[in-house]
């Protein structure tokens, strides 16, 4: 066992009006502060085995990051115990404590010590870190002159070399360019193979299903399911799109997905789709406020997170008579039929809805819509099947 969590409770007391100065305190000497209790975690228990890659999944505000911060000794739990074997390093954000005024060496040592390395140990690993980050030529440059990509690479390299027994990672995977992402992927597998215990908090189902041995779904501060990552992913999507789930807690919630499903040729709802069979997706969107010039977009990703294709639909541009303006509460069903030339595999469909309030005030809201499997296809070279026009002729 590497991590043992027993019955953790955490409630945040949020003052309705926060007094932040002595002046205010003096101005309202008898003003009582009213609090609102936010029960973030309500009795979470969890075991992570040694060498396991464990995912914690949940919607925004479900308590998953709070749990991670309690494990990392950043927040104090109200009740319950956590026991951890070996050294733990949290990665809530890459490059914590990086100082832009300092060169790479000083930052690495500072960051390394924060991640739990000894000072000499951090110095000893400096070369390995610079090599891993591929930043050898820039070691004397101050960090403020680094590009953001270089900074991230450096931070990631420190994390890899910090060599903790238990790593807590909070959605830091989605950084860097494609080749760096690949390196991250390789690194996670390598860490896993080296027997490290990794706890990953994310709402990227692709990542959970790719890396994790087991996962936990957390909802409203309670663990609702623990086990197979595929099942966790399925339940997570269900949770997001079940009828009474309301909207995803995004700061600007102007639309919600009422329903979304996949249909076969006969109009029957299907979970997965056969090869070559057209992909029909129906999406019912409800406006939560008046939406002008609605545009709905779709993006398809494969299980590796590769963006396979994308397309948009806008009633205004299509001119098909569908309403361009949705009043509050009005619903719109978007019908998509897509020729299916995809290779077999697991696909994730995301959808976004944009609203145009005033010129220039455009907001896009993204939903994880569906995931489905394309089955029964003879092997294809690449992601797609294409039908090229080809011919040949003999040359003299």
């Amino acid at each position: 066992m590497a991590v043992e969590i027993r019955d953790i409770h955490k409630t945040f007391r949020i003052p309705r009006h926060r007094i932040t100065s002595f002046k205010e305190r003096a101005a309202h000497p008898f003003g009582r502060i009213e609090y609102r209790d936010l029960k973030t975690l309500r009795g979470i228990s969890l075991d992570v085995h040694k060498g396991e890659f464990f995912g914690i999944v949940g919607r925004n505000g479900s308590g998953k990051s709070t749990l991670l911060k309690i494990m990392a000794s950043i927040y104090a739990a109200d009740a319950g115990t956590i026991r951890i074997a070996g050294r733990l390093a949290p990665f809530i954000e890459l490059g914590v404590g990086f100082d832009p005024e300092l060169a790479a060496r000083d930052n690495i040592i500072l960051n390394g010590v924060m991640m739990g390395l000894g000072r000499h140990e951090a110095e000893r690993r400096f070369d390995a870190i610079m090599d891993f980050a591929e930043l050898r030529d820039f070691e004397d440059l101050k960090l403020k002159n680094y590009s953001s990509g270089m900074t991230v690479r450096l931070a990631f390299a420190v994390m890899v070399q910090a060599d903790a027994d238990v790593l807590l990672i909070d959605e830091v995977l989605a950084v860097g360019d494609a080749s760096f992402q690949q390196k991250c992927t390789d690194t996670f597998y390598a860490m896993r193979n080296a027997g490290k215990t990794i706890v990953l908090v994310t709402h990227d189902m692709g990542a959970v299903q790719r890396y994790c041995d087991r996962a936990m779904l957390i909802h409203d501060g309670v663990s609702t399911f623990m086990g197979d990552p595929e099942e966790v992913g399925r339940r997570y999507l269900q949770l997001n799109f079940s009828k009474d789930s309301g909207a995803i807690a995004a700061p600007d919630v102007h639309a919600r997905i009422v329903d979304a499903w996949l249909e076969d040729r006969g109009g029957e709802r299907q979970k997965n789709i056969g090869g070559r069979e057209p992909i029909r997706v129906k999406t019912v969107i409800e406006a939560r406020e008046r939406l002008e010039n609605v545009v709905v977009g779709y993006h398809l990703y494969d299980v590796r997170g590769i963006h396979v294709l994308g397309f948009n639909y806008s009633p205004r541009e299509t001119g098909d008579g569908a309403p361009e303006v949705l009043e509050e509460g009005q619903r719109l069903r978007v019908n998509v039929e897509l020729e299916n030339q995809l290779a077999a595999g697991h696909y994730f469909l995301k959808c976004w809805v944009s609203r145009d309030r005033q010129p220039g005030d455009l907001t896009v809201q993204v939903f994880d819509l569906l995931d489905f499997i394309v089955y029964d296809v003879e092997p294809i070279a690449g992601l797609f099947e294409v039908k090229p026009v080809m011919s040949s002729e003999a040359l003299p």
């Binding site: 002595f22 104090a76 949290p90 809530i92």
Partner: protein
């Protein structure tokens, strides 16, 4: 050293699939309870390493950032010194009756400046290091203490310049200079205590910085920095001043460092017994500080 040290990551070989059976044996198997964030947590060694590292990086940043770093760091105390010297020897003229008044003034400004600098930078330090506090395991007490330690390093470099002035103006050396560490130790403890207290208070009440700005200025004028205590007539005012431990430290510094003919703190107070109030204030501030910080530390990340 463990054999598992991410060695596979360092060389350029592509990752080789490893089966579960091949995985190296467990290293640290014993489960230990996580106690949550605190003022000290995380082991003594890590505490001191972080403290030293943070203080040194801040110190070096002010120092080696510019070619004239050292000159810059001296500029502030020297300018203050120059202005006050003109005021107190040409206009108010209290300085002319006091032996070695310029050196008395210079030393006091530099020495008291450590208290002011340490407490002022520490006040906002926890909030300024917000990202560290909210995103990583970190013994909270390191933050205000690192600010004080940076101040101590600055004091060290400033004192080198002060020493040069001493030789130039023919002050000392006296054997009592060897007792300076006693004064420095007391000053350091008091500065650290006040700094720690303020840094925790500032998290809750942001006007602490403004209030402390005024208070520390009041202390500067009221702590026998600009004038020897003899100029304060015996009576209520002097008795009140003698409750302040800073005043006693400055009085003793006058005798030990500048002028062996000056009165000692015990003599000024009129006996050891009269030092008790200041000693109680000293201990009280230290205890209050550590208790308050300890109580606040676990919640600091949430309050930010």
């Amino acid at each position: 050293m463990k054999t598992t040290t991410a060695a596979g990551l360092e060389d350029a070989d592509p990752p080789r699939p490893v089966t579960r059976a091949e995985r190296p044996p467990a290293v640290a198997d014993e489960l230990r309870e996580v106690k949550g964030p605190s003022a000290f947590g995380g082991g003594r060694r890590r505490f001191f390493e972080l403290l030293l590292l943070m203080a040194m990086t801040d110190f070096r940043k002010t120092f080696f950032g510019t070619v004239l770093g050292y000159a810059w760091s001296l500029l502030r105390p020297l300018l203050t010194f120059a202005v006050l010297l003109v005021v107190f020897t040409r206009i108010v003229r209290i300085g002319s009756q006091i032996p070695n008044y310029p050196m008395f003034l210079l030393f006091n400004i530099v020495f008291f400046g450590f208290f002011q600098e340490g407490t002022t930078t520490a006040t906002t330090a926890v909030v300024a290091r917000e990202s560290i506090v909210r995103k990583t395991q970190f013994p909270r007490l390191v933050i205000p203490l690192a600010a004080v330690l940076t101040g101590l390093l600055n004091l060290g470099t400033n004192l080198v310049a002060v020493l040069a002035f001493f030789f130039f103006f023919g002050v000392g050396p006296y054997w009592t200079w060897l007792l300076f560490p006693v004064l420095l130790g007391l000053m350091l403890i008091l500065t650290a205590a006040v700094a720690t207290l303020l840094s925790a208070l500032y998290v809750r009440r942001r006007d602490v910085a403004i209030i402390w700005g005024v208070l520390s200025l009041a202390l500067f004028y009221g702590s026998a920095v600009l004038f020897p205590i003899d100029l304060v007539p015996p009576g209520l005012l002097r008795d009140v001043m003698l409750i302040n431990p800073l005043v006693l430290i400055m009085i003793q510094a006058h005798q030990w460092i500048i002028d062996p003919g000056a009165q000692s703190a015990v003599a000024v107070a009129g006996g050891w017994v009269n030092l008790i109030p200041a000693a109680l204030v000293f201990v009280g501030v230290c205890l209050w500080s550590i208790r308050f910080f300890n109580r606040e530390a676990p919640r600091v990340a949430e309050e930010l």
